[in-house]
């Protein structure tokens, strides 16, 4: 259970996020959507403990602001938008950093093999020996996800749910890997964990999210299930764009939706 009450964040005296309430239960994927600059990443960084905030955030009932880094690391793993390195680490060395805290939750003695298994899950089998800096942006993003998965390999640890915070996890990925990554998120939630993801693709959001939080100019504009939230009015108000939900393109114009996977 993650609960945020009245969370506001100011950076350099400028308010970026104001009075956001946020709730999610284990078993759910909570998607945060909104236009560029609406405060999504800032809110997620507050939730991750990176930024000072006013208001109250609790994870599994414990106050985030008094948690030590090592305690928070046991409860959630965070995937940033992009990670650049200045040293020539191999993919395996990066993924293994996820095991740093020693609470992957895998069976005893299995940690050593987790990097391999995590890489296989993100479809990077055989990449362990490659240099991270030589990979494409999408591949780097998946390596980071493998690292994050190692950190909270078991979605439930000591009877308590754990969480994945994903900041635009699929933004640099092709459609195949978007589906692979979102399915990993869904599996993580179905097996008892929770996922908070910032997403830009509204179709993908509708397909995977149990609950959507729409942010607009630093505030929460709407929240609820995809059916409740994604309406013509809301999209026009928040994205400043007149789009009709659920309307097919005219004539023989082809369109491909992630939902159409068969």
């Amino acid at each position: 259970m993650i609960e945020a009450r009245n969370v506001s964040v100011a950076i350099g005296g400028k308010g970026i996020v104001a009075n956001v309430d946020f709730d999610m239960r284990p078993g759910e994927i909570a998607a945060i959507v909104g236009p560029n600059g609406s405060g999504k990443t800032t809110f997620l960084r507050a939730l991750s403990g990176d930024l000072a905030y006013s208001g109250e955030v609790t994870i599994n009932g414990r106050d985030l602001s008094v948690m030590k880094p090592v305690e928070a690391a046991m409860l959630r793993a965070v995937l940033p938008q992009a990670t650049t390195l200045s040293f020539p680490f191999t993919v395996r060395e990066i993924v293994r950093l996820g095991l740093l805290g020693g609470r992957s939750g895998a069976l005893p003695g299995e940690d050593e093999r987790l990097p391999e298994r995590a890489l296989a899950r993100v479809d990077l089998d055989g990449f362990a020996g490659r240099f991270y800096q030589e990979l494409s942006g999408g591949e780097q993003q998946r390596v980071q996800l493998a690292r994050v998965l190692c950190q909270v390999w078991a979605p439930v640890l000591d009877g308590k749910p754990r969480y994945l915070f994903l900041d635009e996890p699929v933004s640099s990925l092709d459609i195949k890997h978007q589906l692979i990554i979102m399915n990993i998120a869904r599996d993580f939630a179905r097996t008892g964990g929770g996922v908070v993801a910032i997403l830009h693709d509204l179709n993908l959001t509708a397909m995977y999210a149990d609950r959507i939080f729409v942010m607009h100019r630093g505030r929460l504009a709407a929240t609820g299930s995809p059916q409740d939230v994604l309406s013509d009015d809301l999209i026009e108000k928040v994205f400043d764009c007149r789009l009709r939900v659920g309307m097919l393109p005219a004539g023989d114009m082809p369109f491909v939706l992630p939902q159409s996977v068969y």
Partner: protein
């Protein structure tokens, strides 16, 4: 999946793919042997013909009565001149190389070096203050601290510079290379200007001391000097391995290191204090010896990768080896006179640094 087949070509994918820890362990073992050889060579070579073979014989047979393996003169040369010098060389080489590696991890940049970015200059300022003002303005302090005054002042100078530099060059957990190098240049210039004022005030005897000391040298190593700076360096070096995991995580950025459970703030300050102590102590006793801190970690990253758990101990060993080697060159190349070792490391290190820059052109965001 074209990429994958290319990756798989040549080497079969195995469970140890991308795991360089085995190679790193072998390298560390080899470096241990190398250091042992370098120490023996340093003990045997020198202006006098006192031989370390004699020393070893003396150790092995010393208890035997009538053993004449070593004359009293040789014993003096080996125990009171060469051995302290070798000990100091090992300590300082290790301190400089490890400090370089830690600083590069901290700034997330392979070009950070205590000598380049002003930490050594700050430490020098502290040390020169004590040399020049020790008998007058700072007399109460120096008399209280005794032989610790010099290393302590150098430590404070180095610490102040590093803290200032970190404040200037880092914003929101990101360090700009350009800002770091330029701020380092500015701080070094400031420290050198202040040092200049002190030199201007110095008398003739102090001037001679200062000039030689500033060029960097292991000459004049005594057990007493080792007694005052050795513990500082050993303590700082002993603390560094505890930073290794944190520095590895820091390679992903400060925020991500925090998400992985690393207490980033504490890590940063421990690293800064440790580096300042090691560099300060080194500068206090041997002056400015440049480029060890950048050359050694860079070579090692090419050989065994950037994992600090192996990089830090390997850097200590290779730094010690290289400094002993440089000292051997300094002692013999213009014998019977002696070249300051700082000149040797700069002549070898500066072109190497340029080579790194050329290789990294386009990668380093200057």
């Amino acid at each position: 999946m074209v990429d994958q087949s290319i990756a798989g070509a040549g080497t079969m994918a195995t469970a140890s793919d991308g795991d360089r820890s085995g190679r790193a362990r072998i390298a560390i073992l080899a470096l241990c042997l190398g250091l042992a050889v370098a120490v023996l060579l340093s003990l045997t070579s020198g202006a006098s013909d006192a031989s370390a073979v004699g020393v070893v014989g003396d150790w092995l047979l010393g208890a035997a009565p009538g053993n004449e393996a070593m004359s009293a003169r040789d014993r003096l040369i080996v125990y009171d001149i060469r051995l302290p010098r070798v000990t100091l060389g090992v300590l300082i080489g290790a301190a400089l190389a490890v400090s370089g590696a830690v600083m590069q991890g901290l700034f997330r940049n392979p070009l950070a070096d205590p000598g380049l970015i002003g930490v050594s200059a700050g430490a020098s300022l502290g040390a020169v203050s004590v040399i020049v003002l020790g008998a007058t303005v700072l007399a109460p302090v120096t008399s209280m601290l005794g032989t610790l005054a010099l290393p302590l002042a150098a430590f404070c100078g180095g610490l102040a510079t590093t803290l200032l530099l970190y404040q200037v060059a880092s914003r929101h957990g990101q360090t700009s290379v350009a800002t770091m190098l330029l701020a380092g240049i500015a701080l070094a210039a400031l420290a050198m200007a202040l040092t200049g004022i002190l030199i201007f005030m110095a008398d003739d005897r102090q001037l001679r001391d200062l000039t030689f000391w500033q060029l960097g040298s292991l000459a004049g190593a005594t057990w007493q000097k080792i007694g005052s700076v050795g513990p500082v360096i050993v303590l700082a070096l002993a603390a560094m391995p505890f930073l290794a995991r944190g520095l590895n995580a820091l390679a992903l950025g400060e925020a991500t290191a925090g998400h992985l459970g690393i207490p980033v703030q504490r890590l940063k300050y421990t690293a800064i204090v440790g580096v300042s102590a090691a560099v300060g102590a080194s500068v206090a006793v041997s002056g400015g010896i440049g480029f060890v801190g950048i050359v050694v970690p860079h070579l090692l990253r090419l050989a065994i990768g950037p994992d600090n758990r192996y990089l830090l101990p390997a850097a200590a060993l290779l730094g010690a080896c290289l400094l002993l080697l440089a000292d051997a060159v300094a002692r013999t190349i213009v014998a019977p006179a002696e070249l300051p070792i700082g000149i040797v490391t700069a002549i070898a290190g500066a072109p190497f640094f340029l080579w790194i820059l050329l290789r990294k052109r386009g990668v380093v965001d200057l």
